[in-house]
């Protein structure tokens, strides 16, 4: 991939167990976030780092936007919705500052 990987080394390696922060910035005021509501607080697994990109939460407000690591994170689908078929998954691009070790 040609995505810039400079600036910050990935904190999480492929296979790392992570939890998405259970955070709801939209309740605190205007914001732009790229973390879907349905994965917040959920356990997932890092598939791979995707490179570093300017933080969209700053870009949206024309603030200086430091590069942040982006990851592909995999979630089992049934626990999210309490329905669905075991083995089905959802893969989501999530920025590092939304992830915690699990």
């Amino acid at each position: 991939m040609s995505a810039a990987t400079d600036a910050v080394a990935p904190r999480f390696a492929p296979g790392a167990r992570v939890r998405v922060k259970d955070d709801w910035p939209e309740t605190r005021g205007p914001c732009h976030i790229r973390t879907p509501h349905y994965v917040r607080g959920r356990l997932g697994q890092v598939v791979r780092p995707l490179g570093a990109f300017p933080n969209p939460e700053d870009l949206a407000f024309a603030r200086p936007a430091p590069r942040r690591q982006l990851y592909h994170v995999l979630f089992e689908q049934p626990p999210i919705w309490n329905e669905g078929k075991a083995g089905d998954t959802v893969m989501v691009e999530i920025f590092e500052h939304w992830l915690e070790e699990a």
Partner: protein, 194 residues
């Protein structure tokens, strides 16, 4: 297709463009260039990429390693476009692409997204009940095939690399490209041999 934009939306758009112009953030020329790139793009580019990946191992390797370079090689204009990731379907795993937050779509190689891709119905259902969505498309998967929904939330755009169907042995890349539809590149359908 989506309904044409209302007069109020067009008036708002005009004001937004004028404001961006005044701030020197974007010019009419740049907007026209972006529109031309998207107008030129069509699912045929994606279909060509898939057919070539099925028939040319070196191109397949390039596609999996660097989607943007592979798209350029197939005639897409990727300058200024987001990264392109490729999701390879296998006998055990089928990918379905959705953007639950808005309507992120690999426009550089598929053109404008269809209305259904941008609909609330598709965006909310694909991620929650993908098997029901696929069934409504008439897409039957074997019971042991896992579905991986890919929510396009950030700086990549995603295309599905479908499996080459049985019965296409010896086909040329041109003939193969004709059975790869836009819907197969999003993952709601699979290529079929009639």
């Amino acid at each position: 297709m989506a309904a044409p934009p209302s007069g109020a939306s067009l008036a708002l758009l005009e004001k937004l463009v004028a404001a961006l112009n005044a701030k020197g953030l974007v010019s009419e020329t740049e907007i026209a260039e972006r529109q031309a790139i998207t107008d030129r793009a069509s699912p045929e580019i994606g279909a060509r990429m898939v057919a070539r990946a099925w028939t040319d191992p070196e191109y397949y390797a390039l596609l999996m390693r660097d989607g943007k370079a592979a798209a350029e090689a197939a005639g897409a204009s990727m300058a200024g476009a987001p990264e392109l990731g490729v999701l390879e379907n296998t006998p055990k795993q089928h990918h379905l692409v959705v953007c639950t937050l808005c309507s992120c779509y690999p426009r550089a190689l598929l053109g404008y997204p269809p209305g259904w891709y941008k609909s609330f119905a598709y965006r909310s259902r694909a991620v929650r009940e993908p098997r029901a969505v696929l069934a409504e498309w008439g897409t039957q998967l074997a019971d042991d095939v896992e579905i991986r929904v890919v929510d396009s939330t950030a700086d990549y755009r995603w295309m599905v690399l479908p499996m080459r169907p049985k019965g296409t042995e010896g086909w040329s890349a041109e003939k193969l490209a004709a059975i790869v539809t836009r819907d197969a590149l999003v993952g709601v359908a699979v290529p079929r041999v009639e």
